[in-house]
């Protein structure tokens, strides 16, 4: 018997953080305009010591205004989606749950469409509209998903799926009747798009909200291990099931809302990264949560780098890349786990 130790958690996180670092360096280096690693180091060093004006304008713009914000956003969004997915999988006791199954992304997309239609000039109207749409959906689905006063997994799942369908139908209706060309950008957003960095004043909010959300779920990770074996069983082992379900629901939905508002609905990450991490490191949520966060960051940065470079100079939306890579990976994991 090898119980989980804090050491193992920390070492695994260190390993994944190392991989993430390497992936980020590669992402900074690769792109339509190639930059050598030495140039990269020099650029980073110059900025670090405050002599950014000595950099050729190209490098400064490409590395710091284009690539770096994209990589950071991708990492944060990947972490948020993967932890949300892992959380939902425990809450719904369903391995097929992903962050969008409860309708958050559909509500968010509707908010974004309405914002694009009615306030296209305001820069942050889209992420704000998306976030508001997400929050409203989360609240609505919560009230629909209750049974006898507390969240019930089956009822919640049904409520979420129905809400998602309904909201998607509204979006489709709007997209055909509102023949505005500004909605062209929606297609990108719906597939996931990291090319629009967060407004500077939103960046800190995003980071803090992310840490709070992941932290909140992490505090319930021991309870989640029990919850996935059954609600009654967890209750008999002393878990406050009602509270844990609420915390996970709010935190996971909030993380999804954050991610979708910033970058649209990047698919497959929230579903597959937790499974891949389970495959590599086991199902214990005390390790799975941080592993999923780091694994998700790696996955999205990797996917985005590929999306940017595979058919350069055209940029694919990152969601297209995760879909292309996601399906075969899913099949592989499925077959391996069946053995």
């Amino acid at each position: 018997m090898r119980p989980l130790t804090l050491r193992r958690v920390l070492w695994t996180c260190a390993l994944l953080a190392g991989v993430l670092f390497a992936v980020c360096v590669a992402a900074l280096k690769l792109g339509a305009v190639p930059i050598s690693v030495s140039d990269l180091i020099v650029s980073l060093a110059r900025v670090a010591i405050g002599r950014s004006d000595q950099l050729p304008l190209d490098y400064r713009l490409i590395v710091f205004d284009l690539r770096l914000p994209r990589i950071v956003l991708g990492a944060l969004v990947g972490a948020a989606l993967s932890v949300a997915g892992a959380g939902y999988q425990a809450l719904l006791r369903n391995p097929l749950a992903d962050p969008y199954v409860l309708g958050v992304s559909s509500g968010s997309a509707l908010g974004a469409v309405l914002a694009l239609q009615f306030a296209p000039q305001i820069a942050f109207a889209t992420p704000l509209g998306a976030f508001v749409g997400a929050i409203l959906t989360i609240t609505g689905v919560y009230y629909l998903g209750r049974r006898e006063g507390q969240l019930d997994s089956t009822t919640l799942l049904l409520a979420g799926i129905i809400s998602a369908s309904f909201l998607s139908a509204i979006i489709m209706f709007l997209m055909t009747t509102l023949a505005s060309r500004d909605l062209r950008g929606m297609a990108f957003w719906l597939m996931g798009d990291l090319s629009t960095p967060l407004a500077p004043n939103l960046r800190w909010f995003f980071l803090v909200a992310l840490v709070v959300g992941i932290g909140a779920i992490y505090t319930t990770s021991a309870d989640l291990n029990l919850l996935v074996t059954g609600e009654r069983e967890a209750m008999h082992l002393g878990v406050d099931v009602t509270r844990v379900k609420l915390v996970v629901y709010v935190a996971a939905s909030g993380l999804t809302a954050l991610a979708v508002s910033a970058s649209g609905a990047i698919g497959y990450v929230g579903l597959l990264v937790p499974h891949a991490m389970r495959f590599l490191f086991g199902s214990d949520y005390r390790l799975l949560i941080p592993a999923s966060a780091l694994g998700g960051a790696i996955a999205v940065v990797l996917a985005d780098t590929l999306a940017r470079t595979i058919i350069a100079p055209t940029e694919l939306p990152v969601g297209a890349m995760t879909a292309i890579a996601g399906a075969p990976l899913f099949i592989f994991l499925l077959r391996r786990s069946m053995r």
Partner: protein, 300 residues
């Protein structure tokens, strides 16, 4: 009526056992259940009382839908009684917080298949959850206790196996081990013999008896298996359609007419070794051959 039976309200025998205060006392506990708030409660458990001591194995016996699981949930503290109370070592179970309750009461239920892969050893370690804090990471003591629990169910060799690769009986031993790891005072099992063959059923009940004896548990088993209850229980609580009909030793409770009425099957009760009744199906052929038997008179 046998002298060993106890009535529902307590008796002289209970008072005379001062040195042996009952670990579990169920006093007139009842429950009503309604599917929605507006409907009239449909399912009830009428006021039920019994007591159980350390090292005792109690069978809650009855056919399907007789309220057995409800009574078990009342004892486990996951339901609050509508009236009456349930006391563990003199303290009302409802007044305990969830953590303390989990340290004193362990429940083994019908288990749904696990959605995510789990290792048996880690599963048993989950039984230590009520004793941990924050991330509930297992310390040495936890690991030792979990290993002991596995040993007590004869499953140490399964510690590193995946749960979905175990047989039904092996899985159940792991689940039982998790309950043992909680180091409870009270061990509750809800129809543990349902999917087991007769050999496994007997093995389980013998193990439960042994555990009750060695670890001074009070074991409560919900079952509808007449023969097993007769053979292994110290006390039987007989339920029928939400009403507690009889509480007592198997010999006291197993009266043929009573049991036939409750289980709606023709039965034959005989005295067995060690004062335990032996139950068997009465053959219909024999009935036809004896036209003036007591049964025919009852059925008329």
């Amino acid at each position: 009526m046998s002298a060993a039976g106890t009535s529902a309200t307590g008796s002289h025998e209970a008072h005379s056992r001062l040195a042996d205060t009952p670990r579990l006392a169920v006093e007139q506990a009842s429950y009503a259940y309604s599917p929605t708030r507006r409907q009239i409660p449909t399912f009830t458990l009428g006021a039920t009382s019994f007591q159980a001591r350390q090292r005792e194995l109690v069978a809650i016996l009855g056919p399907n839908a007789s309220g057995k699981s409800t009574l078990l949930q009342l004892i486990a503290g996951s339901l609050a009684p509508l009236s009456g109370r349930v006391l563990l070592d003199g303290i009302e179970i409802g007044s305990l917080d969830a953590r303390t309750r989990a340290q004193r009461i362990a429940v083994v239920q019908q288990h749904a298949p696990l959605v995510f892969p789990a290792i048996a050893g880690e599963f048993v370690l989950q039984g230590r959850h009520p004793y941990g804090r924050a991330l509930h990471l297992a310390n040495e003591e936890d690991v030792t206790l979990a290993q002991n629990a596995l040993a007590q169910v004869g499953a140490e060799h399964l510690a590193d196996r995946r749960m979905d690769q175990l047989s039904g009986g092996e899985k159940q031993r792991i689940i039982l081990a998790r309950a043992l790891a909680q180091q409870p005072l009270l061990l509750l099992l809800d129809e543990p013999t349902l999917h087991l063959d007769i050999g496994a059923q007997v093995e389980l009940l013998e193990r439960l008896r042994r555990l009750a004896e060695e670890n001074r548990y009070t074991v409560i088993v919900v079952t509808h298996e007449l023969a097993l209850a007769a053979e292994f229980a110290d006390q039987v609580v007989l339920l029928h359609r939400g009403k507690c009909l009889r509480v007592g030793t198997p010999a006291a409770v197993y009266q043929r007419e009573l049991l036939e009425q409750v289980f709606e099957a023709p039965l034959e009760i005989e005295a067995g070794p060690a004062g335990r009744p032996r139950v068997s199906l009465r053959s219909r052929q024999a009935d036809i051959a004896r036209p003036d038997s007591a049964d025919n008179r009852t059925r008329g």
